[in-house]
C-alpha cells in the first residue's frame, strides 16, 4: 500500500543540518493499522508527512498503491491526496469560521463532479458514523476536544480514502476521549481502511497490528 525505499530527509538550517529521516525502508500493507512510536524529535511527524505526500524526501522514493508519487507536480500531488488520503492532526486543524457541516465538506470541494445533494448525504452519513448528527450547525468553538477530533475524523473519511494518516490524534485529549477516538479508528480499520498513526501512548499502540519504532531518524527493530 505504502512503500518507502531508502528515504532520507535532511533539514538544512543556517547553523545545523538535521538528518530527520535516515535510510528508511518501510512497507505498510493494505488493511494494516500501524503505529509509529519514538521519543520527541526522532522524526515521527516527518515520516508521516513523507508518507502523506505533505513533504518530499531529500532522497529515496515513495510509492503508494504501486504508483511512484515522488517527483509529481504540486497539483497532481494535491489531487492524489484528495482522492486517496485522509489526515487527522493532533490539534484538529478545523476552520473556526466554518460550521461542523462546512468543515466536513471541505475535501469534497476540491473534487470535481459531486452534486450538492450527494455531498449532503455523504456529510450526514459520516457525521452519523462519528456520532455528531446533532452538532451539524455548531462551530468548532462550541465543541469539546473529543468532539472536534471526531469532526476531523469525519472530514478525513468523507472522501472515502484508502489510507488515513493520523499524527498524535489523541495527543490533546484526556484518556477517556482518547480511547473513544481510538475505537473509532479501529472500527474504520475493520472496514478496510489502512491507518498509520503516530502516538506517544504505549497502551494505544498495543491495540494496533504493528508498532514501528523510530530513534534519531532511523528505524529500530
Amino acid at each position: 500500500m505504502i512503500e518507502l525505499s531508502n528515504v532520507e530527509k535532511v533539514y538544512q538550517t543556517k547553523e545545523i543540518e538535521t538528518l530527520a529521516l535516515n535510510q528508511i525502508n518501510l512497507k505498510i500493507e493494505k488493511g494494516e493499522f500501524a503505529s509509529i512510536m519514538g521519543p520527541s524529535g526522532c522524526g515521527k511527524s516527518t515520516l508521516l508527512n513523507v508518507m502523506g505526500l505533505l513533504d518530499m524526501p531529500s532522497t529515496g522514493s515513495v510509492r503508494i498503491q504501486g504508483e511512484k508519487v515522488t517527483n509529481r507536480k504540486e497539483t497532481k500531488l494535491a489531487e492524489f491526496r484528495n482522492q486517496n488520503l485522509g489526515f487527522i492532526f493532533q490539534s484538529f486543524h478545523l476552520v473556526n469560521d466554518l460550521t461542523v457541516y462546512d468543515n466536513v465538506e471541505m475535501p469534497l470541494l476540491y473534487r470535481k463532479g459531486i452534486s450538492s445533494k450527494e455531498r449532503k448525504e455523504r456529510i450526514m452519513s459520516v457525521l452519523e458514523k462519528v456520532g455528531l448528527s446533532a452538532r451539524v450547525h455548531h462551530y468548532p468553538s462550541q465543541l469539546s476536544g473529543g468532539q472536534k477530533q471526531r469532526v476531523a475524523i469525519a472530514r478525513a473519511i468523507i472522501g472515502s480514502p484508502e489510507i488515513i494518516l493520523a499524527d498524535e490524534p489523541t495527543g490533546n485529549l484526556d484518556s477517556r476521549m482518547g480511547h473513544e477516538i481510538m475505537d473509532l479508528l479501529m472500527e474504520l480499520n475493520k472496514e478496510g481502511t489502512t491507518i498509520v498513526m503516530v502516538t506517544h501512548d504505549e497502551a494505544l499502540a498495543q491495540k494496533t497490528n504493528r508498532i514501528i519504532r523510530l530513534f534519531d531518524g532511523s528505524l529500530v527493530n
Binding site: 492532526f89 490539534s91 476540491y110
Partner: protein, 407 residues
Amino acid sequence: MRRKLYAFVTLFGISLTLTLLFATTVFVDHIFASKGTESKFDRAIFAHTLRMTKRKTEDQSNNPFSYRFVRDYAYKMKTPELVAAYSGANLTNDLVYAYRNGKREPLTMRFTDGNYWQLVDLEFLEGRGYTLDEIEKDDKIVILDRKSREIYFNGEPCVGKTVQLKGVPFRVMGVVENVDAIRFSAYSNIWLPFTHTKHQEWGYFGHLQIAFLAHQQSDISKIQEEFADKLAKLDFSGTHFDSAYAKPKPATMDVWEKHDIYADSLGQFMEIEDVPYLLFGTVILMYLFLPGLNLISLNSTRIMERFPEIGARKSFGATTKHLAIQFMIENIMITLLGALIAGAATFIIIYLINDSGIFFNSQIAPGSRSFIVGIGSALILAILSGVTPSLKLAKTPIVKTLKNSTK
C-alpha cells in the same frame, strides 16, 4: 472569535485608509477642478504679473497690469474668445467693513472690467453684471453677493437701490449667490468697476490680472504666442524699461501662485506647469503606499492566523491556486466593504465641513472625477495589499503551516 476580531481590525484599517484617500481626492478635485463658478477655466489662461526690465542696468520691476495695457494691447488680441481684466481677490486687502448688530463684518471687494461677467459663471439672484459701456457712462455701480445683500438690505431685493461704500453711493445692478472662497478668480463679496481701485496706475503697471478665454483648449498656445508678440511690440516710450515679459498660464498654476507655494524666481529656471500634477502624483502615491504597507502587514498577521486552515485545506487537496483565489476574493470583498464604509464616512465628513464652513466657507461637492480616482485607488489598494500576502500565504509549504500550529 479571534478571526472575527482580525477581520474587524482589517476592515477598520481599510475603511480609515480609504476615507483618508477619498476625502483627499475630493478636496484636491474641489480645489483644482474647473467647475462651478469657474467652469470655463479649463480653456482659460491667466497673466498675473508683468516683468519689465532695463537691459543695461538690469533694473527690474514686477507688477500686475494697468488698464492702459489691457485696453491698448490685451483687448486687441485676435485669438482669444474673451479677454477679461480684474483685480486679484486678495483676502486681506481691498476690504470694506460693514456693521451688523454692532458686529464688524469685513467684506472683500473685487475690481473688474465688463468682460469679467462672461468669464465666471456667477449665479445671479437678481439683476445682472455690468458692461464696459455702462462703466464708461456711469461707474457708480456695484454687484453684491447674497451675504452682503443680507448685511446691507436685510436680504430684501435691492437692484436699483443705493448702497454706501466708504461714504460713496453706489447703485446695485445685481446680486449673486455666495461664492466659494477657494475659487480664487470668482470669489468676492462685492464687485465694482475697475475704475474705483485706490491703487495708482503707473505706465503698464497697475492692479489688474488678465484672463484669456480660448475658443477651445488647443488654442491656448496660439494665445500665448500672440501675447508674446504683443509684448515684443510694446511701446516703451515714456517708460524707463526696454523689455517686458509675462506669460499667461492655465488655472491650476493660478492657485499655486496665489498661495505663494511657487516663488516667482523658480519660474525663471523651469517650466513648472507640470509641478502641481507631479506633486499630486507623489502625494497620491504616498497615500497609497503607506496604508498599502500597513494593509500588507495587517493582512499578513491576519494570514498567520490562518495557517491551520491552510494546512488542512492543502492536506485535503487544495492547490496553491485554489487558495490564492480564495484569499484574493476575500480581500477584494473586504476592501469593497471598506470602500463602502469609507464612501459613507467621506460624505459625512464633507457634510460636516460644508456645514461648519471651516474650509473658506466652501461648499464641497464630490464630483465624478473624485469618484473615479477614489474607486481606482481603492482597487489599487486592494490589489497592492491583497495579492502579495494572498500569494505568499497560498504558497506556504504544508509542513510549515502544520508545524506552526502544533508547536
